[in-house]
Symmetry: C2
Subunit: 93 residues, 2 copies
């Protein structure tokens, strides 16, 4: 997942990276209906919002990795994000 440009000298690169990031969010969103169909998430789950949330966590983890976070620290971030998914899964729907 691409999050921030390592080269940001041209509008073309900026635009291409933005498109790629938004495509990543759409790809996550597209996977969620299968989890709803499988009964792992409730019918009321908001696929778009869950995708944006997860994408935000990935983007932040990527930033923190570049800033020196350890694997253990990043896994703890992911663990907290999964609590949010568990909360959605536990919702009646």
């Amino acid at each position: 997942m691409l999050t921030a440009p390592s080269l940001c000298t041209t509008p073309e690169v900026e635009s291409a990276l933005r498109d790629q990031r938004n495509a990543n969010l759409a790809a996550i969103e597209a996977l969620i209906p299968a989890d709803i169909d499988a009964g792992e998430l409730p019918r009321t789950a908001d696929a778009r919002a869950l995708a944006r949330f997860s994408g935000a966590v990935f983007q932040g983890m990527s930033q923190q990795a570049r800033d020196g976070a350890t694997r253990q620290e990043l896994e703890a971030v992911a663990g907290h994000a999964m609590r949010a998914w568990s909360a959605v899964a536990a919702t009646e729907g």
Copy 2:
């Protein structure tokens, strides 16, 4: 909160922004013991991990805002992040 450099032409700017981002994480972490003392979070809450998780969400929200996300979409991201906090708060400790 600064997340990605809008100018990344010099190592000095990169380094200064990295330091600022890591200082932001430390500032979030420093606020959490008060919530533990107030009984809003359990004694077992991992302040550092919660701070990194929240900072990751903020960093991702900032990236998505630059990529065109709406206020409503970003508020939904924050809402999901708060589910993780609620899950921690509901933990025995």
